[in-house]
Symmetry: C2
Subunit: 328 residues, 2 copies
């Protein structure tokens, strides 16, 4: 995936004989369109000629515009079937053929494996054997997920209920790992204790990164599999984050809280300094090198790869959706 990122102000994108010219004052960059897969325009100060747009489309290069928060907000699609168009089509059809069910199962399996992995990791660090035992209890649910059969409609509810059973093992163990004075009684989205509030904030950052990764891979973040397709809700992001919650948020916050860090909460809201500290740790956490099936990658790379793998599985270019499981 060769991506050209164009940022700055007063930058001009033109084309001459199939070669893209990016001119920034006196600086000039020439890129052959055949060498590119994606062009991402980051700032508002870039101008592009319609001739360049035509040429970009003609070469099957993906042209994406970001907003000022760095989120992809627009992409140029040709009316004929190229890779991105095909990804979307196949994604909508995956609801109804077996692929959606397969993706839902793999996603859930990854979530459970990472929950178990996190517990095992802390069991090694703390010597607490109960964590390890409970990790195995969670892994039993992996088989329950794997054994599910039938349409997406049918298994969606069963997946959610298996995840709920695993959560009743996972969160009490997380609670055990936290200092007692935190008052964490279990995961509650509307909980007012500092850990639940910190989780909500951390998951917010995770959502935004997942959404970007999915859109850049050509997927529709609003058309999920486990989470029903509620129009207007980014349900594919909801599905996708399940695989990353442990590695990107739970792990980082557990480490922070175990070092006796505590956020300041006022009227149920984190103060500015606490938010900044959580954001800093989570963003740094994205650069943490993990091993995935033996291969070292940063979590950011792993997320991007999982999104592209999901897109290529949906398109049928890849026969396997691997999901994301950290080698804890």
């Amino acid at each position: 995936m060769r991506t050209l990122i164009v940022s700055g102000y007063g930058v001009k994108i033109a084309v001459e004989k199939g070669v893209l010219k990016v001119v920034n004052g006196k600086e000039k960059l020439s890129v052959n369109l055949v060498d590119l897969e994606q062009i991402v325009i980051v700032t508002s100060g870039v101008s592009i000629t319609s001739k360049a747009v035509r040429s970009i489309i003609y070469h099957g290069v993906d042209l994406v515009f970001l907003n000022h928060r760095g989120e992809p907000i627009g992409r140029v699609y040709p009316p004929y079937i190229n890779r991105t168009v095909n990804t979307r089509r196949m994604q909508y059809l995956a609801y109804l053929n077996g692929k959606g069910a397969k993706i839902a199962k793999v996603t859930a399996e990854c979530k459970l494996r990472n929950q178990a992995g996190l517990l095992r990791r802390f069991s090694r660090n703390t010597g607490d054997r109960e964590l390890k035992v409970m990790a195995y209890e969670i892994l039993k649910y992996v088989d329950e997920v794997r054994n599910l059969n039938g349409s997406l409609e049918k298994i969606r509810g069963e997946i959610v209920s298996i995840e709920a059973k695993a959560a009743r093992i996972y969160w009490p163990m997380v609670a055990k790992l936290l200092p007692e004075n935190i008052g964490f009684q279990g995961r509650e989205q509307d909980g007012f204790d500092p850990f639940n509030i910190a989780l909500n904030y951390g998951y917010g950052i995770l959502y935004s990164e997942s959404w970007k990764a999915l859109v850049l891979a050509g997927l529709d973040p609003y058309a999920g599999f486990i989470h029903a397709d509620r129009s207007g809700k980014p349900t594919l992001s909801f599905d996708f984050v399940e695989m990353f919650r442990c590695s990107i948020v739970d792990f980082v916050l557990l480490k922070m809280f175990r070092k006796r860090w505590k956020p300041r909460v006022e009227n149920g809201i984190l103060d500015y300094k606490s938010r900044a500290e959580i954001a800093k740790n989570i963003i740094e956490g994205f650069e943490r090198k993990v091993r995935i099936q033996g291969e070292p990658l940063t979590l950011r790379q792993a997320m991007k790869r999982a999104a592209f793998n999901l897109a290529s599985f949906i398109r049928g270019d890849s026969s396997l959706f691997k999901g994301f499981v950290e080698d804890w």
Copy 2:
């Protein structure tokens, strides 16, 4: 549907406080984005700022780029669900819910009605009563189409077979209307007689216009209903043209040939002059005023309207797909 067409060379599109500025040398046009639904960039000499693209997306305005032949080749889609995204999603899902079957039936019905209409029209002009009798024979097949029940997969083949039966009535009547020396024995895509060759050329023009109308309405021309979804074939265009063949091509060519016009064919190919004459007549034919359910429209307007009606039926904004039937 308010559309802004931008053409010319050295034209710049920028945005200031939500107002689009189109600057062409000293000429300057300001358009409030809230008043627009679509911006069509026609030439290669237009440049647009990324800030304007952001603003266009933000306002839900459809941005379309044409190639040098005037065909839409790219469109900017946001990753969230706006009207165009929704049209595509619903189009892919229409295969599998009842909507696709409904569209297939209406399309076939319109085709049959227009075949019958054309025969009735020539029956009035020529006084040949057999044409009128055969028009009624064709209309009997409308009921057969209407009575079809079941999934798209199931009825698709039945529609094709009903259309074939009607064709065995329609084309012999067309043959009867042609001067004898033309040697037209019936419709054959690979036929070498002048009328079949002229039909092929005329349908080619029709395809291109239909494709444009569908794409501008936000539809995927490659995802049809009657014609199976063969990847890479514009099967929705194939479906859509069925309703217009009679009014736009058959009628015009019949009139030309009945005036003793004859194309020059060399090695099975029309010569340049004959192609130009057919193209001129068909393009003028698009401006012919017809009545559709009593309302006067040019065929070009009627085609555009049918494409937008199809898109809004697919999205669910309109409860009825009317198709296109000329009041012959």
